[in-house]
Each structure stands twice: as C-alpha cells, then as structure tokens.
C-alpha cells in the first residue's frame, strides 16, 4: 500500500476530480491526504481522507492570499492576454511560493510515496523535485489552452519561461528544465478525442472523467418528477460571483414563459422570486441530477462539461474567461453543442439555441460519441491503475523504500 499526497489549489473545479480519485485509492487501502492553501470542509473529503491546511506556515501570507482570491473576480472582465497575466503571474506563481514552506514541512513529516499535484499547483512538483519524491500531475481541463506559444507568440513564451524559471530559482532549483509538472505521468480528465490530440506525449494519459466524490447536497426530487417539460440544467460553477445575477436575469427573460424546466445551481438569494418553471438550489447533487436532464447551459467549467457529455447531453456553452474559450472550440468541433460567447449573448439566441439543442437530434448523437470516448478512457479504474503502477515502478527504481 502507498501514501499519496494530493497538492491542490483553492479552486474547487481543480480539487473535485482529485477527491474522486482519492476516494477510489482509499477504497483500495492506500493512505491519501490533500494539502492546500485554504481549508476545505471535511464533508467534501472521502471517508478516511484528511485535508492538511498548514495554517502556521501560511500565517504570514493571509492578507496576500485573500487579495489574490478576491482578484479572481476580475477574471470575467479581463481580456485574453490579461487573464494569462492574472493566472500565471498574479496567481499560480505567488501561490506556489507561499505553499512551499508548509508543503516541505508536511512532506518531511508524513513522507508520502507519491506527490500528485494539480496542474496549476506548481508547489507539488517543485517539492517533489527538491525531495526526490516521485511526482504525478492531474489536469482537469483539456491541455494546450494557451496553444503553441513557442512558435506563434515567442515573446509570450519567453515571459512564461522566465516566470517559471524565476520561481524555480527562488525555491532552489537551478537547472534549465521546467519542473512545474510531472515529466513521468500527467493524467488528464477528458478523452484524447475530445481534447483534439492526434498524437500525445507518452507521459500524458487521458483517463476521462472521474466520479465518486462525496456530494451530500439535498434536492427536491419530487418537484423535479412533477416537471413535464424538457429539463435544462444551468450551472455557472463556483467562481464568477459578480456576473451571476446578470447571467440568471438573461435566463429568466428567455425562459420564464417557455415550455422548459430550468434546474439552476446558484444561490437563490440573488432574486426575491423565481419563475415557476425554475428549480433553484445553491448546491446540487450534480452527477445524480444529470441523467434526468435533456440539455445543459454552462460557461465551460470542466466538471460540468464532463458530467454533460458523460450523460450524452447537448450543451449551450457561453464562454466567459480563462479556458472556457478553448473548451467551447472543442465542443463546436465535436458537434455536441453550440457556443455563444457570454459577452455577445442575445436573449433571442439563448432561447432559440436551447430549443435547437432540444429539437435537433444531431447534437445528442455527437454527444453520445463523446460519451463513448469518455467510457473507453477508463475513468477511476484507469487512474487508480496508473497511480498504483507508477508507485510500484518507483519502488523498483529504488525511489521508495
């Protein structure tokens, strides 16, 4: 049995798949812990798992952490190049620096066999290099979001490289390689076909969506059962707080008098009253709800994208910022949905597109094809097998006692 340490960012979309794999590893008898820069409620953790929040080692950074978290609200108003700066320079790199001390201390104490870092949580890989611990990376979104900057935008590539090498030097890694991700195993939670990779580097493994994290959110199933019109699930994810009201106002205007039932995951407090055909809950058991839906509207958060196509549903994606645009392109290419950029979203297009998705079977057929590539990718079983084999190889190579 092995000890796995997941190193995660303070963004639930990135934590979520690690909770699902962690649950499977725990069920197999492994020891699993998570470490992050903000606390995580125990209710999210699979039984037997523990979340480490190195409070004392993070004490000096509290104001800075809160400032950076608040700054994420600016994301939706930022342009593409500004978002690149916000993400890498203002968020990922500083978070990595702040996490090093607490992470190094905990790793010295617990001695994990494998450090599994999320793709934007560089501290995990850096710590693994410094301590000589085998390292795996998890990537919840289709990779290659920024494209091939080395040839298409050399100055942007240089900026990325300089930032990362600067970070590496600061933590004590002086060679010329890039060490923010594992070079041995990078597990991606989508299929190779959907991600649009004809070829892939050998260390990259597309395992498809993973599931099984605890989600105890209550839901009024009876009310759902009474709904007789097509059911459309709407999610804006856990970020993007500022534009929530505006987004849902558009939905209300488009659908309050239409023969559809909208199941929305958002805090109901944003409006005093919702139309009768809207079922609104702050938290929903999304994976259990999805099989009952007929279509999905979302901004492109990757867990919702995975839940949608795992159920062969069509999607209206309204990309806002970050990697949403890349995901939107992949969806249009696969033919399983329609993309309308949030900034250019007209009410009439919103309404017509949803009915087009419900009435025209071609989107569902394309979604079924993606569903099959997800199933073939192997999911939790494949991820666990890769991690166990990886830990075993490390033992053989003498990296683990």
């Amino acid at each position: 049995m092995s000890k796995f340490l997941f190193v995660v960012p303070p963004f639930f979309g990135h934590i979520s798949p690690t909770l699902s794999i962690g649950a499977s590893l725990l069920a197999r008898g492994h020891e699993v812990k998570w470490l992050g820069i903000t606390p995580l409620a125990q209710a999210h953790l699979p039984e037997g798992g523990e979340f480490i929040y190195p409070e004392a080692d993070l004490a000096e950074y509290q104001d800075e952490i809160q400032r950076i978290l608040k700054r994420q609200d600016d994301g939706p108003a930022c342009s593409g190049p500004e978002v690149m700066k916000l993400a890498l320079e203002e968020t990922y790199v500083p978070f990595a620096k702040m996490m090093m001390k607490g992470l190094n201390n905990f790793v010295d104490q617990w001695k994990p066999d494998v450090i599994v870092n999320d793709c934007i949580t560089f501290a995990g890989s850096l710590c693994a290099i410094l301590k000589g611990i085998p390292n795996v990376t998890t990537t919840p979104v289709p990779p290659d979001v920024m494209g091939d900057t080395a040839s298409s935008a050399p100055k942007i590539f240089e900026w990325q490289q300089n930032l990362i090498k600067g970070l590496q030097k600061e933590v004590g890694i002086y060679d010329d390689d890039i060490h923010i991700h594992s070079h041995e195993l990078n597990m991606v939670f989508t299929s190779q076909a959907f991600a649009g990779f004809e070829e892939k580097p050998p260390h990259m493994q597309f395992v498809g969506p993973v599931k099984g994290r605890p989600n105890l959110a209550p839901f009024d199933w009876e009310r759902l059962a009474q709904a007789k019109t097509p059911k459309v699930f709407v999610s804006l994810g856990t970020l993007l707080v500022d534009i929530r009201k505006e987004f849902f106002q558009k939905l209300i205007t488009a659908f309050e008098h239409e023969p559809v039932t909208i199941i929305a995951a958002t805090n109901p407090d944003i409006f005093e009253q919702w139309p009768d055909n809207f079922i609104v809950n702050g938290f929903v058991p999304q994976s259990e709800l999805m099989p009952h839906m007929d279509a999905v509207i979302c901004h492109g958060g990757f867990n919702t994208v995975n839940d949608t196509f795992s159920n062969g549903l069509s999607m209206l994606i309204t990309p806002i910022a970050y990697d949403h645009f890349h995901t939107a392109k992949l969806i249009e290419k696969a033919g399983c949905g329609v993309s309308i950029r949030y900034k250019r979203l007209r009410i009439s297009d919103l309404r017509n597109t949803v009915f087009e998705l419900l009435d025209n079977p071609k989107y569902r057929l394309a979604a079924e094809k993606i569903k099959q590539t997800f199933i073939d990718a192997g999911g939790n079983d494949k991820a666990v097998q890769l991690l166990e084999d990886f830990a075993m190889e490390a033992v053989k190579d003498g990296l683990i006692e």
């Binding site: 342009s79 593409g80 190049p81 500004e82 935008a153 100055k155 645009f325 950029r341 900034k343 250019r344």
Partner: protein, 100 residues
C-alpha cells in the same frame, strides 16, 4: 504594381472607417452601437474582442490588403503588455507604414 499601390493607398481616416466596418461585421451591429469606437479604442478592453473575433478581424484585413500587410505576423511579435494595450490607432499606423 506602383500604380495599383498608389490607387489603393488610403489615408488614416479611410483606414479607420474600414477598420470600424470590419469590427462591426465581426462583433455584430447591436453590440457596436453601445460602443464609441475611436482610434484610442483598445481591442481587448474597449471592444472586448476575444481571440476568435481577432482572428476573423485579421482575416478581413488579409482579404482586403492581401500580402501587402502581415497583420498576424505583426501581432505574433508582441509581448503581453503590447497585446493588452493594442488599440485601433496602432493598427492604423501599422497599415499606413506598410503602404508607404
């Protein structure tokens, strides 16, 4: 060749109007109505153009000016801050330089 170039050479106001027309075609008339497009308008901040819209904008420039102007090549040489601050005026003067 010289005669053609001279015949199609545009002044900055003509270029500005043409750019405005391209932008309207790319992002849609009703969204442009809410904007006050000037040479100071930044592509990303004021016009809120995303990468897909910038690509279709650059295709329009290519279709109009042909090989005379390498808009995509010009963009690819920029660093992040230059991209963030890219405005219509910069494109107008780039096109003017290419014409001269």
């Amino acid at each position: 060749m010289d005669t053609i170039t001279t015949a199609t050479k545009m002044n900055s106001e003509e270029i500005f109007n043409l750019m405005k027309q391209f932008i309207t075609e790319v992002i849609g008339e009703e969204f442009v109505e809410e904007m006050d497009i000037t040479p100071e308008s930044s592509f990303t901040k004021d016009l809120e153009m995303d990468s897909i819209e910038i690509v279709s904008f650059s295709e329009k420039i290519k279709a109009h000016f042909g090989d005379q102007i390498d808009f995509t090549g010009w963009l690819s040489e920029m660093d992040l801050d230059q991209l963030i601050n890219l405005n219509l005026g910069m494109i107008i003067s780039y096109i003017e330089t290419c014409q001269s």
